[in-house]
């Protein structure tokens, strides 16, 4: 290490290194990177001059595809590195921290900039900036000011303020939050409860996890304000046990908030008592449904019950209870602090504010984005997401997870808000956004989501328990080449019946992927059933394993991969597959860079 103790100390005092230690970052090895930074800086003799913040732990910044992301802020100038591993640490320290010249080839590219600058960061602003394990870091950036402000107001005024802001539940259904609080406030019964729903189970969604990992106090603050507004005396955070980092940080945050007097008895000398407990879920998707969640907290099997009566009247232990999503609650302090006018200035007429989406699937820039309501799908997919990888054709996007629907490319200019999504047969959902390109088979996609839904059904009501299973089986048959004439009509009528007769949100929405794919991609179903082919080439049953000599570039990759010696190939000659020897393993199909194998 070339650092000497004689180097001017003032220069290095302004050094700040931020390493992403969210679950995505940790999985990519950020802990080792962080340790190496502190070890090398220490052994380099910079120890005495730099403060603890030199290697500050920060939460998720959303762009997980480029992890490990490291910010180096040197003399006020910030540079962001992507794909940092332990091998890169020495050079960054040597050339950038000591030498003063950033390592250009490792810096994050323009897509990183676009990913963050094109959205509107309100909720995620602090995620990745503050230390989630230090309450002071949150307070420094204006944290708990909203709580202090709210406690000086009358509870009704707080509810009124939230109502005016137009905030709607971010869990999926979009019920106005202020109205929910008001209903609970007027409901008879005591004590009242507030529950934070952090049982984020949609495949590919990680908005709530990132918020809790990156800024746990914002959620606690939302709960405190809510509890004060409608008179709850205890809060529960129902969080999946699969989120160990988030749980640890939340526990720490609660402890710190208690120490600081934001939780406990007589908060801010306002005679308002409130405490928060954590309940870890046991891995049931359906526990994201509020009544199942309540049953789970009560110690029963996580099964939903019929509504009405709604939880605001009869919830946890039969008492009035408000269940709010993580994102909703994290938004509350911002609204209280900045005012409802500020909030309602963002978004559309009926959908206010911003929404966090988890952008995944066949898209270049995967990760967490925050955008104002009303933004078009096009802006999200192309401007922020960078389009499909390999410049493939964008085909559709699934919003709302397994409960949502599939939106085809023809609707790419539609605005993303509660009403528009519903109108088109999808839903906002909790914010998962799975992008599909032309290599995605829509029948197979519907089969995947139905498989998920039928596995995760709690088994209470018949239409969901057996109906979804039958839907799944028929879709599976179609993808396996066993489709028959009339299957589409069968799927449509069964799906419709499940939708209107199921007990909870899971069953009522689980047929959506089937209905929306049939609506927009019926030709693909027809191709599977009538022509026995899969247009996207995904369903293995339809693969013929023939080389299209016109497309074949004679590279010989398939020849090398074939385990059964079925492929003959010579230089400058297209490959040929001997179908008698072929074992249909699919290796050749996978490796062919030109999609010459059908």
């Amino acid at each position: 290490m070339a650092v000497t103790k004689t180097r001017p100390k003032t220069e290095l005092k302004k050094l700040l290194i931020k390493v992403c230690v969210g679950t995505g970052g940790l999985a990519a090895g950020s802990q080792a990177v962080l340790d190496k930074f502190s070890r090398q800086l220490k052994s380099g003799g910079i120890k005495a001059e730099i403060t603890k913040k030199c290697t500050q732990r920060t939460g998720c910044r959303g762009f997980c595809a480029k992890d490990v992301l490291v910010d180096v802020i040197r003399n006020g100038k910030k540079s962001t590195y992507q794909f940092v591993d332990t091998d890169k640490v020495s050079r960054i320290i040597k050339e950038h921290i000591i030498g003063g010249t950033p390592v250009k080839e490792w810096l994050a590219g323009p897509e990183y900039e676009a990913f963050h600058s094109k959205g509107t960061k309100v909720l995620l602003k602090q995620c990745g900036e503050i230390d989630p394990e230090d309450i002071e870091s949150y307070i420094e950036t204006g944290g708990y000011k909203a709580t202090k402000k709210a406690l000086k107001m009358k509870p009704e005024q707080v509810i009124d303020l939230i109502k005016k802001s137009g905030l709607r539940g971010r869990g999926g259904a979009g019920f106005p939050t202020g109205q929910k609080w008001e209903l609970c406030s007027n409901a008879e019964g005591s004590p009242k409860y507030i529950i934070c729903n952090a049982d984020e189970g949609d495949p590919g969604a990680f908005m709530d996890r990132s918020i809790i990992e990156g800024n746990p106090h914002s959620v606690l603050e939302g709960m405190i304000i809510g509890a004060y507004a409608f008179g709850a005396s205890r809060g529960y955070v129902y969080i999946r046990a699969e989120y160990p980092v988030a749980i640890t940080r939340l526990k720490l945050a609660i402890k710190e908030a208690e120490k600081k007097g934001f939780l406990g008895n007589n908060i801010g000398k306002s005679k308002f008592d409130f405490d928060i407990r954590i309940k870890e879920g046991a891995g049931a998707f359906v526990c994201g449904e509020e009544t199942a969640l309540i049953a789970s907290i009560e110690g029963a099997r996580g099964m939903p019950r019929s509504k009405p009566p709604f939880p605001v009247y009869q919830g946890l232990w039969g008492k009035p209870t408000v269940v709010n999503n993580v994102e909703t609650l994290a938004t509350v302090p911002l609204i209280v602090f900045k005012g409802p006018k500020w909030f309602s200035s963002i978004g559309t007429k009926t959908s206010k504010g911003t929404k966090v989406f988890a952008l995944t699937g066949k898209i270049k820039n995967t990760g967490l984005i925050e955008v104002p309501m009303g933004i078009t799908l096009k802006e999200i997919i192309y401007d922020i997401g960078g389009g499909c990888p390999g410049n493939r054709k964008f085909k559709a996007v699934q919003t709302g997870g397994p409960s949502g629907g599939c939106i085809p490319a023809s609707h790419i200019d539609m605005p993303v808000d509660y009403e528009s999504l519903q109108e088109i047969g999808s839903m906002m959902g909790s914010g998962g956004m799975v992008v599909m390109d032309d290599t995605t088979c829509m029948v197979d996609m519907a089969r995947f989501f139905l498989d998920f839904a039928q596995n995760e059904s709690c088994g209470k009501c018949l239409p969901c328990r057996v109906g979804n299973k039958r839907l799944y089986e028929r879709l599976k048959d179609i993808t396996e080449g066993k489709g028959r004439e009339g299957d589409i009509e069968f799927l449509l009528s069964l799906a419709e019946d499940i939708k209107i007769s199921s007990l909870c949100g899971l069953g009522q929405t689980s047929p959506n992927p089937v209905l929306s794919t049939i609506k927009y991609f019926r030709d693909e179903y027809d191709a599977h059933i009538r022509e026995h082919r899969c247009p996207a080439g995904v369903c293995e049953a339809f693969r013929k394993y023939i080389v299209n000599a016109e497309i074949c570039k004679m590279c010989g990759k398939c020849f090398k991969e074939c385990p059964s010696g079925a492929i003959t190939w010579k230089r400058k000659q297209p490959a040929f597959i001997d179908r008698d020897k072929c074992v249909k393993c699919g290796n050749c199909y996978e490796v062919c860079p030109f999609h010459a194998i059908l």
Binding site: A284, R301, M303, R305, S306, P308, P309, Q454, N455, E456, S457, C458, G459, K460, C461, L462, P463, R465, V466, G467, N468, K469, R470, E473, R474, F490, L494, D497, K499, I500, S501, S502, L503, Q508
Partner: protein, 354 residues
Amino acid sequence: MSKGKIKIKINGKKISCSEGDTILNAANRAGIKIPTLCHDYRLEPYGSCRFCSVEIKGMARLLPACTTPAADNMDISTDSETVQRIRTRLVSLMLSNHPNDCMRCEADGDCSLQDLAYEYNVDGSEYGGERWDLPIRQANPFITYEPNKCIVCGRCVRICNEVVMAGTIDFTGRGFNTVPDTAFRTARTLSNCEFCGQCVSTCPTGALTDKKGRGKGRAKDFKKVRTTCGYCGTGCNFFLNVKDNKVVKVTSDYNGPVNHGNLCIKGRYGYDFIHSPDRITKPLIKKGKKFVEASWDEALGLVAKKFSEILKKHGPDSCGAFSSSRCTNEENFLLAKFVRTVFKTNNVDNCARV
């Protein structure tokens, strides 16, 4: 809930009911029949079978009549096309995972599913797909469980947890594989089950049946004799199911004013003594070293004579009586009266006093 009166409309008929009443109760009171399957009046409304789903004007979805409280001015339809379509759908879905072997089923003729299949004329064959193939469970003396016939209405689970509070069974598995069972699917023993047979009494199909009565006759073969349980003073009513002058099994009398169909292990399964060859059916008097059959008059006369002798020789306090908690209150009162007026002593007690 306040008890204000509200007005609703069912199938165009104007009905007045109490606030907080479920649609099902309001309809039943008005004489409108809504078919149910997972509903048992002994249990809390559950809404799992969706069979009682009704159409409410202004609602996109159907709502179950058993759990939905009636609200003022609700316009309800219980037999619209959609409602009928959904009911047909539900029965066929149920049958798509059912052995459909009524010919040799224990519950033939006493099965709600069979009735519905007949009424809606479906067999569930259009779905194909997986059917359960689970082993029959009968490693216990009283209850046979054939999970393949279970329609997962949850009545057994709820009666075990809500009424008996034994917690023997609950739902296990998830999704299509959800099925009521004991914890870790262990055999029922007296340590985890009371063998009250309440689950059997509420099962709408042949999934749960009385093991002792299996193969000895079905609903149509029985003469049902209503009687009162002789085991304790509660006075539960039930039906003795008699075939060829033999008691084959006990079934619940849901109209029993005391027990509303509920029974304990003794009432439901303790009937072996009826046809036991060891049973004493006539009074016996010991003459020499042998018991000899006697008439009631003879036997009671002997008892009266002996008591009179003892009382005369040793005084009233030399005698006493100890009554049983199996007796009714009236019987206990009579005994106390008898002891005090005939024996002229206060030496009377009952085993239930402890």
